[in-house]
């Protein structure tokens, strides 16, 4: 195996790491699905999303990979685990799903999966690897382009000669602003919602 692979050099490791990260991603995703312990689920989710960041790196999206690690894994999931800890009472840590729901869920999900898998290999262009003509991963330098795109300049589309297409070349400035405002609103809203106005529970309330 090693010798065979040796012929195609660095892409062997590329493939190797793809399989490695893909297995981790899927495996831990299944872990999230099949675990009943909410804390373990959160832990598996961390690993699954972390491994998928590895897939991003392999696809040359270094910036997005790092973003995934920083915002998703380092921020959102910490928040999630925080929520788990705040609500972690022994009776909520393990909540069993009724087996009827399992059967239904797995049946529907299985059909969906089959559909998606068949689609994944339908298009020839998708299933053909770029092969040796592909670019080396060393040269992934997209972060400043992404930055420019967010501020409204598409560096990668500068050669766009089609007048009509060039008109839509303003990048993602508007979505970027919308998302920024959205985030602000969400933060305020979340902070407001998490407040309880008054401890209005009677003596019998739990906790």
């Amino acid at each position: 195996m090693m010798l065979l692979a040796a012929e195609v050099a660095p892409s062997f490791w590329h493939g190797f790491f793809f399989v490695f990260f893909a297995l981790l991603t899927c495996g831990f995703a299944l872990g999230v699905l099949f675990s009943n312990n909410i804390v373990r689920m959160a832990f598996y989710l961390v690993l699954s999303l972390g491994a998928s960041a590895g897939l991003f790196f392999l696809a040359g999206a270094e910036f997005v990979g790092a973003m995934q690690l920083m915002i998703y894994v380092g921020g959102t999931l910490v928040l999630l685990i925080f929520g788990v800890m705040l609500t972690a009472q022994s009776r909520f840590i393990s909540m069993k799903t009724p087996s009827g729901e399992w059967v239904l869920g797995v049946a529907v999900g299985g059909c969906l999966l089959l559909l998606l898998l068949s689609v994944a290999f339908q298009v020839k262009d998708w299933r053909t690897p770029r092969g040796k003509g592909g670019l080396s991963l060393e040269d992934s330098k997209t972060s400043s382009q992404i930055g420019m795109a967010f501020t409204g300049v598409r560096v990668d589309k500068l050669d766009q000669k089609n007048e009509q297409l060039a008109g839509g070349m303003s990048g993602y400035l508007l979505p970027f602003v919308i998302v920024s405002v959205h985030l602000l609103v969400v933060l305020v809203g979340a902070a407001y919602m998490a407040r309880t106005k008054r401890r209005a529970t009677a003596t019998g309330a739990v906790g």
Binding site: M2, L3, A5, A6, A9, P10, F12, W13, N37, V39, R40, F43, V46, G50, E62, F63, A66, M67, L69, M70, V73, G74, G75, L77, V78, L79, I81, F82, M85, A88, L135, E138, D139, S140, K141, T142, S143, S144, Q145, M148, G152, V153, V155, D156, K157, L158, D159, A166, G167, M169, S170
Partner: protein, 460 residues
């Protein structure tokens, strides 16, 4: 691009390329492990010595000779021999895994940290970002450990850690962004190289705002690696030992390996981002350029020549590379020294100051660090836009020693992009645009922002 280690193995030993890569990877891993593990050994010893001196006592004196330099090793052996206890109420899987997550994250972040010009395990154009991201993952270690221990004190530590680290990532990110936009790249090697020359070239002296930013960065870094006065997650006077209350033996020591690993990491990052990286305060190499040219370079040449007997297939390029690496090792020492100073300052702070309270920690972050960082961010941006005098412009000794201050690099970048644009215009039917256009000044196809804007305007 200079030949990589993998190329060296491939060329010199005729290893198949995949094996060459594997060997190179293993070598890098081992080197980083050495840095982290030996670093931890050294730092724990140093911590004891420093704290001892600060507290008017001796610290370790016996093990391993005069300075007790083997004390940490003896402790390590003791820790390995200790019983590994898992509490009854613990979630055993998470309890056992948690220490390794922290260590793995701390270790992983070293991948992108250059120790000298080009001496990084993996060159990344988003190195700064990557290090911050991976350091952010380290927080899972205390959180999971605290949660899985099944102890209330541990849980308190975990919650404190979660709140603290997530909050401090905000000002930390803001501080880190300042050198990034000053240098126009997230590549740590480039950022480091841009500060070559006299120490006034260091970004910390770039303008008053960067000076403040450097201080804020160090504060936030101290907080994000959980060192006193921000070590609330393990506050012994309140939470017994916080998240690692229930740990013993080797697992416990992994937390400390991770802590000391990240201490050096953030100090090293500070050194690169603000304090000139692997460049000394005075560019001795340039001042003594003649000496180097006439004495050292022949020596290096002889070494390379001797090496060529051993490795028959070493190319001339490798000679140059070897010579560069030898020169680089001096820079590496420089960098290690700067990191060490950072770590020592953290120790000094720890043994001097009382611990803050959790609300005060959050106040420090949200009321002080974030606004100061934001103001300094804008200030530094304004300074750059206004093109006021920077530290690099101040002639201290009368001569500019710098193989290219940041200003020069900037200009050359613009020049390059302009020439590239000209070239592009010359060849209108160029194939699809290379999406791998440069991320920084080293590249050639990058467009300067102003031009792009004008172009866009023209298009409309």
């Amino acid at each position: 691009m200079s030949p990589t280690v993998a190329d060296f193995f491939h060329n010199s030993f005729r290893l198949p390329e995949s094996l060459a890569y594997l060997t190179a990877a293993v070598i890098h891993c081992v080197l980083i492990i050495l840095v982290v593990a030996v670093g931890a050994l050294l730092f724990i010893w140093l911590e004891r010595k420093v704290s001892g001196r600060i507290q008017d006592r001796l610290g370790p004196t016996r093990v391993g000779g005069a300075f007790g330099w083997l004390q940490t090793l003896a402790d390590g052996i003791k820790l390995i021999a200790k019983e590994d206890i898992t509490p009854k109420d613990a979630d055993w899987l998470l309890f056992k895994l948690a220490p390794y997550i922290g260590f793995a994250a701390s270790y992983c972040a070293y991948i992108a940290l250059p120790f000298a010009d080009g001496w990084a395990a993996r060159h990344m154009n988003t190195a700064v970002f990557f290090i911050l991201a991976v350091l952010g993952i380290e927080v899972f270690s205390p959180i999971l450990a605290g949660y899985a221990s099944g102890s209330k004190w541990s849980l308190f530590g975990a919650i404190r850690e979660a709140a603290q680290v997530v909050s401090y990532e905000v000002p930390l990110g803001m501080c880190v962004v300042v050198p990034v936009f000053l240098c126009g790249t997230m590549n740590l090697v480039t950022i480091g190289n841009m500060q070559a020359g006299l120490f006034t070239n260091w970004l910390v002296f770039n303008d008053p705002f960067t000076f403040v930013i450097a201080v804020v960065y160090f504060t936030c870094a101290t907080a994000s690696v959980n060192r006193a006065p921000f070590d609330l997650a393990e506050a012994e006077s309140e939470l017994v030992a916080g998240f690692h209350t229930e740990y013993s033996g080797l697992r416990w020591s992994f937390f400390f390996m991770a802590e000391y690993g990240s201490m050096f990491l953030v100090s090293g990052l500070a050194a690169i981002l603000f304090f000139g990286g692997w460049h000394g305060p005075i560019p001795i190499g340039e001042i003594l350029g003649d000496f180097l040219a006439y004495v050292v370079t022949p020596l290096v040449g002889i070494v390379a020549w001797l090496l060529s007997f051993v490795f028959k297939n070493v190319h001339t390029a490798d000679h140059v590379a070897v010579a560069g690496h030898i020169a680089n090792s001096l820079g590496c020492l420089n960098f290690l020294l700067k990191g060490l100073i950072g770590v020592t300052v953290m120790m000094w702070v720890r043994w001097t100051l009382p611990r803050l309270r959790i609300d005060q920690v959050m106040t420090t972050c949200l009321k002080y660090c974030v606004p100061i960082a934001a103001i300094c961010f804008l200030g530094a941006l304004g300074w750059r836009v206004a093109d006021w005098t920077t530290g690099a412009d101040i002639p201290l000794v009368g001569i500019h020693y710098g193989k290219g201050g940041r200003g020069m690099v900037r200009e050359s970048w613009v020049e390059q992009t302009q020439s590239a644009k000209v070239a592009e215009n010359d060849v209108p039917d160029a194939p699809i645009t290379d999406p791998n256009a440069s991320d920084g000044p080293t590249g050639s196809v990058e467009q300067s922002p102003d031009e792009l804007l004008t172009m866009k305007g023209g298009d409309q």
